[in-house]
Subunit: 413 residues, 2 copies
């Protein structure tokens, strides 16, 4: 704390960032009601299936594109401000810093385009899976250009067996690509309840923001400043969307928002050099992904939708389920079913059908359904609140506990 | 020619670029028929108004997003290849070159997003007008970082009066912003006839390509190499679209294509340091813009559409027109009407209406209508061919004449 690591100009840019982010948030807040009819007219709408009168109201979809558009405009202005101190001919322009901003925005912009195109024309899932990897290529090049360190420090307990550090080489770049793919899709998989996509994103962004503020005192101040510049407008532009997407939803966010927020986190994790901490913030998403694996990879039959289903009498949501013949289940599928049943993530039962075959009825493999298994039928808003709480506890608080307390047992400070 | 300015690695990248561009073109050619039904289902379609059976067939719109998407994928791969020679830890990574690629792709990607959003939800014209300027901010920063020369050399004839050179300072950046805005919209304004948008873009891109190949021998080889890398995939991906958009159009290109191609030219002109030559390639677009000014800025009434209108009996197109009372015309509007009438770009006549007021009936102020005034009613394909010829002669051939012959009278070689 003795020598200030961020200077007065940095403070000015942070204040400037906050001001334009608030303005951006206000603009988003005005644009959503202005434009939603246009979206509905352009066939960008859906029914809110978890409501009693679901088939009566068309809800505008893809409102994330408004958030992303304003976010990009803010970031273009931010770049100009951040580098304005070097705008005199004698200054040595810091291209190594500049490439980070450009590569970050390029990857984000590509994912916004992909998400919006997906909302409009439904892109095939295998294309969607790999495009984030291609979009992350410039990031990897920037990482190489600026750091090209691919060495990881091993935790103390395993050092006697595996040594002090490992140089992962090319595998480190593969890892970073995977982070980009995972983050882009993670939010999109944990979705389908009003407020969930934006809510989790705001909680993650808020946690990253707090993490950056703490680390701003440290030796990597510049990287955390970089992250701050992205997180503040992300939060400011997302909050108006969160309010309007909260139960009962006035608008939907679309794949656009999920890809946009996901890629922003990936980019910041990679270029801010805290991809592992970032992944800790994604623990609920990681668990949800692991839980989804049996259905995503067809070990267990996967219905078209795995959203909870409404009990109109109670106006509460029940876990949705899927039924299949027990004999169709492969050994690995059976093992997964048993494992997630023992760990209480799903609930299944067996029964005989009319043809005297043994049938299995199981709740679908998502965290959303797990919550409904644990707590019983819930109103959608309550479900959303519980999911937010999970994000806060198992994403954010746990990460800070690991990062600032547990870490001392595994690494030298 | 004595010392090679491009080395073997550059030759390899050019060959690689050509190969992946051809593959990209083949992919675009397969994707368009695969996806067009999806576009129509997503309400992205229009009627082909210049056809006899226009209201019977829905034609898929916005196919430019396919071209732009594949183009971006190709460019991401190209970046990785171009900089692969620096992918060893001892190499000094050329960040100053890298920022050019990233800023270029960022501006292009933003404009593709804007174009696609415009196709889907119709963005207000004043937003569309200024967004290219914001999207060009990173380009200006890159220009500053890498060159920050804002001095222009004056032509010889005016030097005795104005001096050898002028330092335009900030005005030079304003000029570059204007180039970005102009190029982005120029193609979109000269549009509406089957094949016209892509056709003019392919001719401009081909001309830029030839110009780059000639200049590749010179001292600015690196900048022309940069331009080549963008032009080859642009041409390769556009040709399949041109074939399917040529009269009678199987698909439409959308604002997406116009903004995408326009911004690509702007970016290349600015970062390749031949923005003035680039503008020469846009002479038909500039004339069309100047011709449109009276209607765009409401000196002359401007109908919603200014496309030619079909004479179903002949299956030929006539110039479209607009009628208004003579007394509503302001002096400046009258002057413009007279000027473009004398220069034969429009044709107007006066008559008395039933209320005994003097009315004016004039053809609309676009090059497309001018061509129909000059040649009489034309079949749409013939009209398109003539417009291509104009682009070739007054855009490309004239530019090469100015650039390689006339220039010697104005500048020292």
């Amino acid at each position: 704390m003795s020598s200030p690591v961020i200077d007065r100009f940095d403070l000015f840019t942070i204040v400037f960032n906050i001001i334009i982010s608030i303005i951006g948030g206000i603009v988003v807040n005005r644009l959503i009601p202005m434009l939603k009819e246009k979206f509905i007219k352009a066939q960008l709408w859906g029914y809110d299936l978890n409501k009693r009168n679901s088939k009566e109201i068309k809800v505008a979809e893809s409102q994330g594109v408004i958030v992303a558009g304003i976010f990009l405009v803010l970031m273009f202005i931010m770049i100009a401000i951040v580098f304005s101190e070097h705008l005199h001919p004698e200054s040595d322009f810091p291209n190594h810093k500049f490439v980070e901003y450009l590569a970050a925005l390029l990857s984000i912009c590509c994912m916004v385009l992909l998400g919006f195109a997906d909302d409009v024309i439904d892109i095939r899932w295998n294309v969607k899976l790999w495009l984030p990897m291609i979009a992350s290529l410039p990031l990897l090049l920037v990482y190489f250009a600026n750091y090209h360190s691919t060495t990881i420090i091993l935790p103390k307990p395993v050092r006697p067996y595996f040594g002090q550090q490992w140089n992962l080489g090319i595998l480190y770049y593969v890892y970073m690509s995977m982070v980009a793919i995972f983050c882009t899709h993670a939010i999109n998989i944990l979705a389908g309840v009003n407020g969930l996509e934006v809510g989790q994103s705001v909680i993650i962004a808020g946690s990253v923001l707090i993490f950056n503020l703490i680390e701003l005192q440290g030796i990597c101040a510049e990287e955390h400043l970089f992250s701050l510049y992205f997180m503040i407008p992300l939060i400011a532009c997302s909050i108006p969307l969160l309010i309007r997407n909260w139960c009962p939803a006035e608008v939907f966010v679309g794949d656009t928002y999920c890809y946009f927020a996901g890629m922003t986190f990936a980019v910041i994790g990679i270029l801010g050099h805290f991809s592992k901490t970032m992944l800790l913030f994604f623990i609920p998403q990681i668990i949800n992904f692991l839980l989804s694996v049996p259905q995503l990879f067809k070990f267990i039959p996967c219905p078209r939708h795995r959203l909870p289903k409404l009990d109109p009498a109670l106006n509460k949501l029940n876990p949705s389920d899927v039924e299949f013949k027990k004999k169709d289940l492969k050994p690995l599928g059976w093992l997964m079913l048993r494992f997630f049943s023992l760990t209480k993530f799903i609930r299944y039962r067996e029964y005989q059908n009319n043809d005297n075959e043994t049938m299995i009825n199981t709740t679908n493999f998502t965290i959303i359904n797990s919550v409904l298994c644990w707590f019983g039928p819930l109103h959608e808003e309550k479900l959303s609140r519980i999911l937010m709480l999970i994000q806060l506890v198992f994403g954010s608080l746990l990460t800070f506990f690991v990062r600032y307390y547990l870490v001392r047992f595994f690494y030298d400070s």
